[in-house]
Symmetry: C2
Subunit: 608 residues, 2 copies
């Protein structure tokens, strides 16, 4: 592993040799601007790297020799080659979103004011002459000058009130108060004058997916990512898709809800242990998810989301106490769920819109969040048209014979060699253990190109295959035809059918949305593919399968879990949180079920 | 039982033949003014009764013949003689506090604007063209004209949100919304245009006493009392006084809290059954109690209330959801606890101040709430000086050999007849079962006057008693001397000692408070005795015992549970609720423990 230090801010992290710098920066919550989408064309992402790397010198648009000599490189093209220090220039508007507070002095971060801030409070100690209650003494100390928005105390609850009383006494009536805008979240004994600030405060971004629950833990003042982890949503025990969850909710309301709540709790606790953070330091959580998952999270019956005229019970930004979810990973403050756009397009899409800045996208862009549901956003100069379609969990590696998430051992793709051998790409490089979503996509495309699969999706039986070395890889597993990748990993006919349904649903959504907007695929400036299908998705093969329209490869980006990134932005930044609260009123929603041509289109979209 | 109808308002209730009208009016929440304290002297309480009664014609100050012929009677002197209709004249400022809304039209109720009001809301039904969420549709419908205070929706909780969605659909998007000021509490399907208003809404006033929990159930729009009930606080299992409760709270926090919560729940449920009210119709609860009881109710550790410098954790008005207390007797809306004045003077005293209108009392008045703690308020032209003192539960009939609350069978007093027989006053008139607080007071005073008790509190043994018929009533119960009232009821030497401690504590408080204010007992215009010691307290005997300073009898009123009445006022009336929220900042508190002369005074106050 190589040690990477980012200046200003002195953020230190470790990375694998060869890792693309752009992804690392995103992972670390350092939001550098990539105006051309990271294609090495605009030259705007230049940073200084010491020692200078081989990579990132630029292709067609090479950096000037003099700049190269100073260590300037295109961040979007750099791969980590060893220990290094990277300085992000503060001129020319490229800035780190939330740097160490010590480092941002005098510079306005791109992403504006943070939500969390602190203030030192000093009170008269109580005495027989001044017997005001602790709570009222605190309220009096929080009274600002007239005209200023008064601070809001949290609701009176035993834990909060007693915790405050302890902090006031431990700090001998001098405390550091942590606020979210004007809401007081927690009190900590103040550090002695002149000493360093008290310990930082943290928060979680949560993407509550139907299949996968994905969390990231951030420093709320710098925005910095400390740790990230995904777990299988325990709710999958109650069905693979939102319809079976809704069905099960009718009978087992509490159980179905608890399964999701517990998955989040467990994931958050693991991240806290990993990052050395305690629940007392966690003061905020922002959650995204599809409408049904958000309803269930709040204990709300999602039934009417699934019945015409498809009306959510609540669609705005909702703010509640962590205790209302039974969560003990967060000691105080608030949990917020981002708004829903419609009964089918949820807070996860709001997250993607935030993360990809689609509100401010000047060109016609198609953004697709591929998960158990596919959410699709067509954006153009501030107009946002959205739809969603039920893909099933195949892209997350679930309900697939050898499916798995994109963890160590997952096959992310393969190539059939001339001798019939396979060149497998495996996460971590070790023994293949299963197939993740991107492996499934590129694998099926490879079978198609090798002539082992018909455009209808029928896998050829060994007797119809000309090359014996390939025929030998075909076998029957419980009467079903399958193609072997390794001793443990294979793709079955049923897996192929699952993928066909999933890609058919998404492609139908894309086509109908473009139709409705009167936009032809060729006029798209860019396609962005977001989701949990694993890194290394092969764009050419994705197009070969017909999941997305055919476009020049360089117009397509794979952006990872954009929904989670959006949640992280709304977790930390006041501007993004305010945009999230308003955004759903700006989005138009295209109802697919209401379109008479849906079924016909879907049937034809299933073929390769 | 006789049926009594009150006009205006057509309030109908049932009463026992012989029941005093004044008590019935108070019980029903009809606050008629009794300027002379109900002694038949001022003639101000005249009402018209049909058919005219024998009682209430007036004594020394007889009503004029012409008035008597019209059916006018002094309400304070009337006993119910049969079915009757009582008209309260609207002229001369005598008014019903909260009458039926139909009846108050054009007349300003004494107690001002009510807290609860209703509004009819009409919305567009959802459709595929208008897919706004239920919650947002409702929020839009609640948007008043610009400049008007916007309505506040309740917190998003599954029960509330789903309940609203059901009501919106059941009413076909026409609902009646119930508000507490601008806070939306609940929705009910709207009655068809022109039809009667939807069913009324109700609320509970709660006096959470150390020993006794006293509840009243009210119509929130008319203020009318529907039912009232008191239960023994189950917390008595954790000690008789607030100090042992505090002690037990340290180890058994949840248990101690739950005991009080469950007593309230049980009492409220019984009242609902009695009055035919369902939890869905209950939208507000107002609670008073001493500081330690209010802390425990909120789950707050009361420890620091009992240690110098005696600082409450919270002293303001606190507003929480019924679910936070685990209560199912209230379906929606809020529970409020009234503010505390100090660590020793609580919301119960705030209730008494409201009920007796002490803020607006022009003359020097001493008001004493006698319970397990005695709270004392000296009021004079808006100045309020308060203190409190630990009396123990004797006045509530607890920890007394034959003690009981003032229920059927309780001895409320007795007189020793010349032949040594006893004339017992028993609630309900049947067999005596025990002694309530007022029975204990008047009984011990009677023993003292009969020479059976020395001023030191020593009960004479039979051999020292001259009259053999009285000596025969003295016996030893487990080596302790006792005086027999009936085969089952007696007073022991220990009971007398308990009473001595209790009255000593209260009298010391009174004396020190008067001292501190520089007020002599003779300059008091009035003394008001509030508490749960049972009706029929003999004022002369109370003075004989030295519980209160000697004053002309007519200057002393017995006012019943004023704390509960104050809670009921803050439950229903906007003005009283607002006064409650501010009142504690106006009160001065006299710290008795800090006074060096407390112990000396206390020791001498114990004697008779
Ligand atoms: S982002 Fe345009 S060159 Fe790197
Ligand atoms: S109250 Fe004065 S006469 Fe009845």
């Amino acid at each position: 592993m190589c040690q990477v230090t980012i200046l200003p801010g002195e953020i230190v992290f470790h990375a694998r040799r060869g890792a693309p710098l752009r992804e690392l920066l995103l992972q670390e919550g350092i939001l550098l601007d990539f105006p051309c989408g990271g294609r090495g064309l605009c030259g705007q992402c230049a940073v200084e790297i010491q020692p200078p790397t081989e990579s990132g010198q630029g292709g067609r648009k090479k950096l000037p020799e003099e700049a190269l000599a100073r260590g300037l490189r295109l961040a979007c093209q750099v791969q980590i080659e060893g220990d290094c220090t990277i300085r992000i220039p503060e001129e020319k508007g490229i800035e780190v979103a939330w740097k160490d507070p010590a480092a941002v002095e005098g510079s306005a971060p791109v992403y504006g004011e943070k939500l969390i801030h602190r203030r030192r409070l000093k009170m008269e100690p109580p005495s027989l002459q001044d017997q005001r209650a602790d709570w009222e003494r605190l309220a009096d100390a929080l009274q600002g000058p007239p005209g200023q928005t008064p601070a809001v105390l949290p609701p009176v609850q035993a834990e909060t009130v007693e915790g405050f009383a302890r902090a006031l006494r431990a700090g001998q009536w001098q405390v550091e108060a942590v606020f979210e805008q004007e809401a007081l979240l927690c009190l900590r004994p103040a550090p002695a004058e002149g000493e360093a600030a008290a310990e930082p405060v943290y928060g979680f971004a949560v993407d509550l997916g139907t299949t996968t629950v994905d969390l990231s833990l951030h420093n709320l003042e710098t925005g910095r990512l400390l740790a990230r982890k995904a777990l299988l949503n325990r709710q999958t025990a109650y069905g693979a898709d939102v319809i079976s969850r809704t069905h099960n909710f009718q009978e087992k309301r509490e159980e179905v809800r608890a399964a999701a709540l517990e998955t989040i709790e467990e994931c958050a606790r693991q991240l806290e242990v990993e990052a050395g953070v305690t629940p007392e330091q966690v003061v905020r959580t922002a959650v995204v998810g599809n409408p049904i998952m958000i309803h269930i999270l709040h204990g709300l019956n999602p039934q009417q989301l699934a019945m015409a005229p498809y009306i959510p019970l609540v669609s705005g930004l909702v703010r509640r106490r962590p205790q209302e979810f039974g969560w003990s990973f967060q000691g105080c403050g608030w949990v917020e769920t981002l708004p829903l756009i419609s009964a089918f397009v949820g807070a996860d899409t709001v997250g993607m819109i935030l993360a990809l800045d689609l509100e401010r996208e000047p060109e016609i862009t198609l953004s697709i969040d591929i998960g158990t549901n596919g959410e699709i956003v067509l954006s153009k100069a501030g107009e946002l048209l959205t739809t969603s379609t039920a893909a099933g969990p195949a892209f997350e590696g679930a309900q697939i014979s050898c499916g798995m998430r994109a963890l160590e051992g997952a096959v992310t793709g393969f190539r059939i060699l001339p001798d019939g051998g396979l060149d497998l790409a495996v996460v971590g490089g070790g023994r293949p253990k299963g197939l993740c979503g991107s492996g499934l996509i590129s694998g099926i495309a490879e079978l198609l190109e090798a002539g082992l699969l018909e455009p209808s999706g029928r896998l050829l039986p060994p007797e119809e295959v000309a090359r014996p070395e390939l025929a030998a890889r075909l076998f029957r597993e419980e009467k079903m035809l399958a193609f072997r990748l390794s001793d443990r990993v294979f793709i079955t006919q049923r897996d192929i059918r699952e993928l066909q349904l999933a890609k058919g649903a998404i492609r139908t959504g894309i086509d109908l949305l473009l139709d409705a907007a009167g936009v032809s695929p060729e006029s798209l400036a860019r396609i962005r593919l977001a989701g949990n299908f694993g890194s290394g998705l092969d764009i050419r093969k994705t197009m070969r399968l017909g999941l997305i329209p055919e476009l020049p490869v360089e117009k397509v980006d794979v952006v990872g879990n954009a929904a989670l990134r959006g949640a992280a932005l709304a977790l930390v930044s006041r501007e993004y949180r305010d945009r999230a609260a308003r955004i759903h009123r700006r989005c138009k929603f295209l109802e697919l079920a209401a379109r008479p041509d849906f079924q016909v289109r879907f049937a034809s979209s299933m073929f390769f």
